[in-house]
Amino acid sequence: MKKSGEELIKLIDIIPDESAKEGEYGLIELASIADSREVRNDDIVFAGTGLPMLGMMTANMLHAPNATLIFEAGIVDGKSMHIPMSVSDQRACYMASSLGGLVDIFGTYLQSGFVTLGFLGGAAIDKYGGTNATCIGDYHNPQHRFPGSGGAGDIGSLSARIVYFIIQEKRRFVEKNEFTTTVGWWCNDWKTGKWRPKKEIYRDTIFADTGPSAVITNMAVFRFDDSGIMYLDTVHPGVTVEQVKENCGFELNVSMVSGETTSPTYKELFILREVVDPEGIFLPIAPEYPSDIKEIIEKA
């Protein structure tokens, strides 16, 4: 589909805000849109490479036009015309408010509390919401060794809320990480070496209240209870609670399921596909639009 900018803008207005049906969207699309709904209009969002970008940029086109996006290489509030492949891609710098470096972004904006939403991908998460980007097995003699923290550790401990995007697999949803790269609601108290709720270790500091707020996967949305343990909140349309449990490596609390994840609307799908990632950098090939939507698009 080759449309001009103005045509796309016009189409955003006229494409219906109705829920799409199962099969009319991919699960990555559904998850990206669920991700986008976590963004509030007054958020300052620190996003990692990949799918978090999709969610944020979709939100910017819809309910959160004023949410500010920052990227770790130094970019504040860029207005991308083409989706960046990385947080340092020059595409992310276009029409930015300012460009600095990591000391600005991590040392200043993040560490002094400007970031209200950390938006991260992750390879593996445990039931406390901690993530592991470092290794499987003993640290010094691992079976697998990954790149390590990058900015995730910092973003994950210094943002007011943190939302993860993770592929739902048994090996990625574990009882307790072998290596905690980014802390969740429980962590080691290094003074005593004890595994304790973060709220207790950092009582009376702001760190008591920072932590993961949601985990979004290709199958479901998870949140955290008062004791800092992950529970299943909603399952994506067409996915059963049983399927989620099968793809989770720990005993999942399913007693608080609030229902089905809201389906994406055609408008959201249109924005995600045609405005945010029309090059198909992060999105796999999408199902076709239903014929009435296709007609609207073609007529424009």
Binding site: G5, T49, M57, L99, P147, D154, Y202, E279
Partner: protein, 350 residues
């Protein structure tokens, strides 16, 4: 580290000369730029590998194309970093790092991006440590996960390795609880690729800074590679735009396309395809060897490397002077849309 220096007389050298003069086995080095996208000193590292230097102690905020190349040729002995991957366009994993970490060919000290940035800031300011709040409770600060301690590298003998990975301290000034003290990073040689440098050393870049502003002063010796050397006077017409003051620069190397396959905003875009090809090659030892023979050891010099890349490839990376990147580069399944104004701005302003 307060250490008095005399004014550096910036010298202009060829790529071969600069590597020969400044590099040595075991040097503690750091590269500017960001991962595999922005302004990595690729040509300098390429020449370093060709001249055979090895056993490096690399300190870097995040890895990327240059550390990938050094690992692929087994030139790194010690690595302090916060991200040991490379190219986000290739899945971020560096198989050679995984191998060499497991075999203990590489010993690491591991932090987070924020931590390494603060460490470089401390290095630039000459203070031995700096407080930081990030990643409290992470295994990054698990005393058992300190490989330097385990390998007895923290005995104070190496002036570039701190005696402790970190310390915890209670804030005595505002009662804000525990935080970490992180040791400064003080590389011996930093190499930064910039688009433009004046012939006396004043230099600037556009786009993201990464941690280059800190590297300039954290290191003992600063080498700039650049797309073009211009007159010092020209650089000084707008001093507010210069990030690198002349007195900090030891040597300048003019080297067109010196960051390829990473990009230089407003000069050329990153070459994703090229890096995807190397990544594929790196999956087997033979594959990597063949690739290195062809692209690193094969060409007679950097000029020959560029010739081998060919006009079509280089032309494909040509950037728009408005955006600083290529609006036409094929990066995904579909060609980029022909958009000239951000749709989010058209829809709802800033």
């Amino acid at each position: 580290m307060l250490r008095f220096r005399t004014r550096k007389k910036t010298e202009i050298l060829s790529l071969e000369e600069a590597v020969k003069k400044y590099m040595h086995d075991g040097a503690c080095i750091a590269h500017g730029g960001f991962t595999s996208f922005a302004r990595k000193p690729a040509a300098f590292v390429w020449e370093t590998i060709r001249q055979g230097f090895k056993d490096f102690h690399v300190v870097e905020k995040g890895g990327g194309y240059t550390t990938f190349m050094l690992r692929a040729t087994k030139r790194i002995k010690i690595e302090e970093s916060c991200w040991f991957g490379w190219g986000e366009m290739v899945g971020k994993l560096d198989v050679n790092f995984e191998k060499q970490f497991k075999s203990k060919e590489i010993t690491t000290a591991e932090y987070s991006h924020g931590g390494m940035s603060m460490r470089l800031l401390a290095g630039a300011m000459g203070i031995p440590f700096i407080p930081y709040y990030g990643v409290m409770g992470s295994d990054i600060y698990n005393p058992e996960c300190d490989q330097f301690e385990k390998e007895e590298l923290r005995d104070g003998k190496n002036p570039r390795i701190a005696r402790k990975k970190f310390l915890q301290m209670e804030d005595p000034f505002y009662g804000e609880g525990t935080l970490y003290l992180l040791p400064a990073l003080r590389p011996e040689i930093a190499i930064i690729h910039v688009p433009k440098a004046g012939d006396k050393g004043t230099a600037r870049w556009e786009g993201v800074s990464s941690t280059d502003k800190e590297l300039i002063f954290a290191c003992d010796k600063l080498i700039l590679t650049c797309e073009e050397i211009v007159s010092e006077e020209k650089m000084r017409e707008n001093p507010t735009q210069n990030q690198i003051p002349s007195f900090a620069v030891d040597a300048i190397v003019e080297c067109r396309w010196g960051a390829h396959p990473t990009g230089v905003p407003f000069y050329y875009d990153y070459d994703a395809k090229f890096m995807q090809d190397i990544n594929k090659a790196s999956m087997t030892e033979e594959g990597m060897k063949a690739w290195l023979d062809e692209w690193v050891f094969g060409p007679k010099n950097w000029g020959e490397y560029l010739k081998k890349l060919g006009v079509e490839r280089l032309e494909g990376l040509r950037v728009s002077s408005t955006t600083g990147y290529s609006n036409k580069l094929m990066r995904g399944r579909v060609a980029p849309p022909n958009i000239t104004e951000p749709l989010s701005v058209i829809k709802s302003g800033f």
